[in-house]
Symmetry: C3
Subunit: 159 residues, 3 copies
């Protein structure tokens, strides 16, 4: 079975694939961080959505007042959903792009710009920065994904 393992690790030995693995993991960890930030704001703002989450604040009306929306919580949640909407395409298209034989330097450029843009987008959303800060960072990540999609379709197109 060690022969098979050796074949498997060929993929992770490839530099483009290693770069994809690195930046994808970083950007997915960043997305996961949104869950912790949401939890932080829910607890500090005392703004919950599930009745069972407020049980520690007592019963009945005293707990019910914490079942409410809070602008900061909702802001983090919108940032989280925007991450999902943009990181899922990167996950899929980026993997196919990494397997389509791009130049290492070109691939690194794509991955680094995407990861940077999404990190800037998160700060722009949470601080918040005045527009077009958030809009531009979103557009940069979007454009990088389109560019990778173009390369995938040029290399692999099979309809």
């Amino acid at each position: 079975r060690s022969g098979e393992m050796a074949k498997m690790t060929q993929l992770i030995d490839n530099e483009v694939f290693r770069a994809y693995a690195t930046y994808t993991t970083i950007i997915l960890l960043k997305m996961m961080l949104m869950s912790l930030i949401t939890a932080y704001f829910r607890i500090t703002r005392k703004a919950f959505v599930n009745p069972e989450d407020t049980a520690s604040f007592g019963k009945g009306e005293s707990a019910k007042k914490y079942l409410r929306t809070d602008p900061d919580v909702e802001r983090v949640r919108r940032g989280h959903l925007n991450d999902l909407e943009n990181i899922v395409p990167f996950l899929g298209i980026g993997l196919l792009y990494a397997l389509s034989g791009p130049e290492l330097s070109t691939a690194l450029l794509h991955f680094r710009i995407f990861a940077g843009a999404r990190i800037v987008h998160t700060f722009a959303y949470l601080i918040p920065l005045p527009q077009p800060g958030r809009g531009l960072s979103w557009a940069v990540g979007y454009a990088v994904t389109i560019s990778m999609a173009y390369k995938v379709l040029k290399t692999a197109l099979y309809l």
Copy 2:
């Protein structure tokens, strides 16, 4: 290193994998289009959710009235979320299916029907078409994903 690159591109040279790459890229680009449609409706309907997005309309009360929900914006957003809920399973199960050694013609059938169903679903949601148009297109994509999942589990099951 060119030897490793050659090994890498074996994956993208495989016809089933190329078909997966093609249809996955197409359907992820379609999902990404939902972001642009949402932005289009937010701007034309003047319906925003973040205060910083309305700053160009002036300050105070004059800008605040644009912080509202709009039925068309919400409709696109529901379509986008439905895409996420259904395309994420396709992304994962489809990749594993493509690696499970299906017949090329069978794989193409799965990928084409899924992509077609999701495109019809988008039109059915946005026009909107009367039911069961949207429901049926959703169910077709769902059934295709279940069929691929069955093949993956039959081939690879290791609990």
Copy 3:
């Protein structure tokens, strides 16, 4: 072409990869089940969001009263979104982890705990169980994903 097919199936013949394929498929099917549960509650609670979905209940005011939110529907939808937020990172990081050459027993431990935690999370959300049931099951899945991300970065880091 059968030579290429043989190379392709090497991936699915690897036991760690087969385990990843199995648990990923199971957990994506579980996530897809949330769509059916949402539909079930929408129909039994008569709580819809799209006007075209209520057309079978008649026209005008008689149908409009079914355009409403229902606590049970909203609960399932929150569980579904939480799945997306946590299963998408597992999908990406888990794939890279499976390719990073972990011990089979360690990999199985990660996959089994993640899948178990997400299934418990779903029950905890839908029953609902008192806290910290849901919180703990969420945290276990989160921790497993972080552990896999650590292994990926340790093996593949290429910035």
